[in-house]
């Protein structure tokens, strides 16, 4: 695959569909291997997730986070996809909902703004090499995503 504007757009849509369907289940999280470089890096500009110096530096470690919160799950809806095809960089404005896994009740709605550096691997498949991550700051007293993932209600 080449990294053209349209191929990146189609790939990002597939990435989010796959994320929503499989990424948060330990039995299926490895379907995300298609999308992440083995040495992918996740850099959260969110203190509660470790902050920018608390990076995750491999997809296996990232999977532990994605599939490590069985009591709740999140879904992503891409509201806007910004594609810099010259540099292979994408930024997505995401509408996020967090659900209780047992009841499917919506526990939280907020927005994220992740930045993705894409690369082509040895077989010319697009992969995410790096994510730089920002999220909406909610009003005081809101139970945050990381707290919900830790089981707090």
């Amino acid at each position: 695959m080449e990294m053209t504007y349209d191929s990146i757009l189609a790939w990002m849509k597939e990435y989010f569909d796959t994320y929503n369907a499989y990424a948060q289940n330990p039995d299926t999280v490895h379907k995300m291997d298609k999308f992440f470089a083995p040495d992918m890096q996740f850099k959260p500009y969110v203190a509660g997730l470790g902050g920018p110096t608390g990076e995750v530096n491999s997809r296996e470690d990232f999977y532990k986070i994605l599939a490590g919160h069985p009591s709740s799950y999140e879904t992503f809806e891409a509201e806007d996809i910004v594609i810099d095809d010259r540099r292979g960089v994408v930024v997505v404005l995401l509408k996020v909902q967090v659900f209780d896994s047992k009841t499917n009740e919506v526990l939280l709605r907020k927005s994220y703004l992740p930045w993705y550096q894409l690369i082509l691997d040895d077989e010319n498949n697009i992969k995410i090499k790096k994510i730089q991550f920002f999220w909406e700051v909610m009003p005081p007293g809101t139970v945050e995503v990381n707290e919900l993932f830790a089981g707090k209600r």
């Binding site: 969110v46 203190a47 594609i83 930045w115 920002f134 700051v137 909610m138 005081p140």
Partner: protein, 156 residues
């Protein structure tokens, strides 16, 4: 001017330089009208400064607010610019330095990322139509600019 990749890149650099140098000075902030559509929308995804339903709905409101906080100013230093040439959208990842104007000392350092929708006005000048603004979430107890300097809304 056309909305090409390279013209957007140059324009964005000029925008950040102008904002940091002039955008918060009472006598010079009007220079920012060059960069904003009159009906500019500024949407902060930050509850402490209004949340997505707050923010500003005109260039006037933005510029007036930006020059109305003499006790502090901010410098925005872009680290990465993502340019979607096809859609006339860019995203900037930048460092923010909030400076105590009296002491001339940096009081806050943090990062932010903002999403900008561009347009061409009737005279083919690039203007920002919408800004969607996110900033780094700092550790508990960290004092934001409004904790240090009062509740003026930020202008950027």
């Amino acid at each position: 001017m056309e909305l090409t990749y390279d013209s957007i890149k140059e324009w964005v650099k000029e925008y950040f330089d102008t904002y940091s140098t002039y955008g918060q000075k009472t006598e010079a902030a009007d220079k920012m009208y060059k960069y904003f559509a009159p009906d500019l929308v500024f949407i902060p995804y930050i509850a402490g400064i209004g949340g997505p339903k707050g923010g500003f709905r005109s260039a006037d409101e933005f510029i007036q607010t930006a020059k109305s906080h003499p006790s502090w100013y901010e410098r925005l230093i872009p680290d990465d610019i993502t340019i979607d040439e096809r859609r006339g959208v860019f995203v900037a990842l930048f460092r923010m330095e909030v400076v105590d104007a009296k002491k001339e000392e940096v009081a806050i350092r943090k990062s932010a990322m903002a999403h900008y929708e561009l347009m061409l006005d009737e005279e083919k000048n690039i203007k920002i139509k919408t800004i969607r603004f996110f900033w780094e979430v700092m550790p508990e107890g960290f004092k934001e600019f409004y904790d240090l300097f009062g509740r003026d809304d930020p202008g950027r």
